[in-house]
């Protein structure tokens, strides 16, 4: 609307409180949209939505064991999402995060196989440091493809994901093969005394979520309280302008990628020493891509990563019971997660349109 038009138009309508309450906020709109899509899908498939929702929402909190599983799934999710917050701040879509998790897991296996008799705290530290290095190296490979050869980080990352899973399979079937039966299911289980200690009767290793929270806290602090974080965000908004202002954009991009790779690598390392205790082909369990969804949903704000990761993890853990309890495929959790992000994008778009109209 032009200037004269806006002068002639009546003063803006001011809503009353009850009208504000009734106006759908973007958050409510996103939630309703997601529930609408998911319910529709369930009705098409001919299953009862209420029973499924009950298991999806509350299944993860029904028993202590399931709660423990949920925490152990939220752990790598938080680590990946906080790493991705860094790369999103730098304006990158780091789709290679899956491969970085796998490489972290592979690197974590090396000290565990070489020096299993070291004192355990030292061994764990060594293993997780290796995991961080492995993930960071893999991320730097994607970063150098992008910065050196101008291959979009999306495609470089995807290619490296396939390469990483090929490498893991090669190790499982080749050099690290389990003695006896040659199984594609995974390497031999690690000795029990080098597993990260778990709570009595649960699969919950308390150290793992603590490490994840430290990682998240670090990312929050770095992004919002340091000059480096400010520079990374400046690069994300406009790399050319940042470059003119004396920020080494290339370096910041590479560093953000390496930081994300290190956090994803630690997630992979924790999958080894705290969850699976062996290298399996699907070691990342899709946690990297789920982390991308989390970050897209929260617009890369670190404070929101924690609650959303927990909610997403509880959907996934809850859905595991679906095939047995109701004979429903568990991928409905993924549908709900995807629908949430899609309708959040929709709600943001609607709000943007409204803001432009006024």
């Amino acid at each position: 609307m032009n200037k004269i038009g806006s002068l002639l138009s009546p003063p803006p309508w001011t809503p009353r409180l009850w009208q504000i309450m009734l106006l759908p906020s973007p958050f409510i709109l996103a939630l309703l949209g997601a529930l609408g899509i998911t319910t529709l899908v369930m009705l098409i498939a001919g299953v009862s939505p209420l029973a499924v929702y009950q298991i999806l929402f509350f299944g993860a909190f029904s028993t202590p064991v399931r709660f423990g599983d949920m925490v152990m799934l939220a752990t790598p999710l938080i680590l990946c999402a906080s790493g991705l917050t860094l790369t999103f701040a730098a304006g990158l879509y780091n789709l290679g995060v899956e491969g970085q998790v796998v490489l972290g897991a592979i690197a974590a296996m090396i000290p565990l196989r070489l020096f299993p008799e070291l004192p355990t705290p030292l061994l764990w530290t060594l293993s997780l440091s290796c995991a961080a290095c492995g993930g960071a190296c893999w991320a730097l490979l994607a970063a150098s493809l992008r910065l050196g050869a101008r291959v979009s980080e999306i495609f470089a990352g995807l290619g490296l994901n396939f390469l990483a899973s090929g490498l893991a399979l090669y190790l499982i079937l080749g050099p690290w093969r389990r003695s006896g039966a040659a199984a594609a299911s995974g390497t031999a289980l690690l000795p029990r005394d080098i597993w990260l200690p778990t709570l009595e009767g649960l699969r919950l290793a308390p150290l793992a979520p603590i490490i994840a929270l430290l990682g998240l806290g670090l990312v929050w602090w770095v992004l919002s309280r340091t000059r480096w974080g400010l520079e990374v965000r400046a690069v994300g908004i406009n790399p050319n302008a940042a470059d003119r202002l004396g920020v080494a954009a290339t370096w910041r991009i590479a560093q953000a990628m390496a930081g994300c790779g290190a956090l994803a690598g630690i997630a992979g390392g924790l999958q080894i020493i705290a969850v699976f205790h062996q290298l399996i082909p699907n070691i990342s369990s899709g946690v990297g891509l789920l982390g991308l969804l989390v970050v897209l949903l929260v617009l890369a704000r670190p404070v929101w990563v924690l609650p959303v990761s927990i909610i997403f993890a509880s959907f996934t853990v809850g859905s595991v019971q679906l095939p047995l309890a109701l004979g429903v495929d568990s991928s409905i959790a993924g549908v709900l997660q995807g629908a949430l992000v899609l309708s959040a994008l929709l709600a943001r778009g609607v709000r943007r349109e409204r803001a432009q109209r006024i």
């Binding site: 050869a149 495609f155 399979l169 090669y170 997660q337 994008l345």
Partner: protein, 328 residues
Amino acid sequence: MDQLTRDLASVLAAAAPLIFATMGALICERAGVINLSLDGTILMGAMAGFSLALAVNSVPLGFVTAALVGACFALVLCFLSLSLGQSQTAVGFVLALLGTELSSFLGAPVVRVPGPSVPFMPIPILSEIPIIGVMLFRHDLLIYASFLLVPLTWWFLFRTRSGLTLRALGERPEAAFARGINVTRWRYMACIVGGMLVGIAGAAYSLDLKQGWSYRHTFGMGWIALAIVIFGGWRPWRVALGCYLFAALEILALRSQGTLRTIPTQVFQVAPFVLMILVLALVNLIASPTMRRRIASLPKPLQSPVAAIVNRIAAPAPAALGKPFERP
């Protein structure tokens, strides 16, 4: 010799779904919209096409359904990114994941159920020609269609008025707008047509080349199709060449499984994906500004032939690809 001819024929067949997917993506990207949802759309097209073909026992209806599903995904992408101003990358990525999960969920009842498929249809007289007949004319309708699709896309993009308009949307939408073209509406149309082709690519797997449906039936093909479009420099013939090269690599991996037993099969399966990225890097390196400076410092008589070769290999992306269009 016979074996080689038959292998070449199977390469031509194996590339058919990729041809559909890449031509769909190409049309969309030439109009300036990056459709990252390819992988999810292909899976949904495969699942929906197969389910419906199974339910009504009609293969053509299966393809129609797949095309409609592809169009729906493209429509969602367009609405969120073109009308509501969200990032095309973000929307496409979410749709890719959503399509993957949705196909697993809705396709669960038809996993490993035998169903109808496209009937084999050799062309009567032409298929009797010694080598070419076996290679080109002993396939089914879908694969003949894939042969026709590439020249058709090329003709549309580079020889028609509409194709010119469409390419203008990808290069300089402001200029197209100034000429009185409704940029958003054109982009919608390009995306929906492209999305239909991508959906058909999915059904090409489930109803023809990899018959039936299973969990993540065509896993990764959408991402590969996107990479091939970049590899092909957004030009139909080169993109098609990329598809055939990729299919040849796959067939090669399949054939060498028996002879090279020491290497696990999974390593062969990821090799084409990795090779694709390496080629991408190489092509981009050849096209880099540093390379141009090197060419400029070459002795005079060499300069123009070398530059011509580099220009042939390097192909820039449409200038407005992925960028939102704001009305001036």
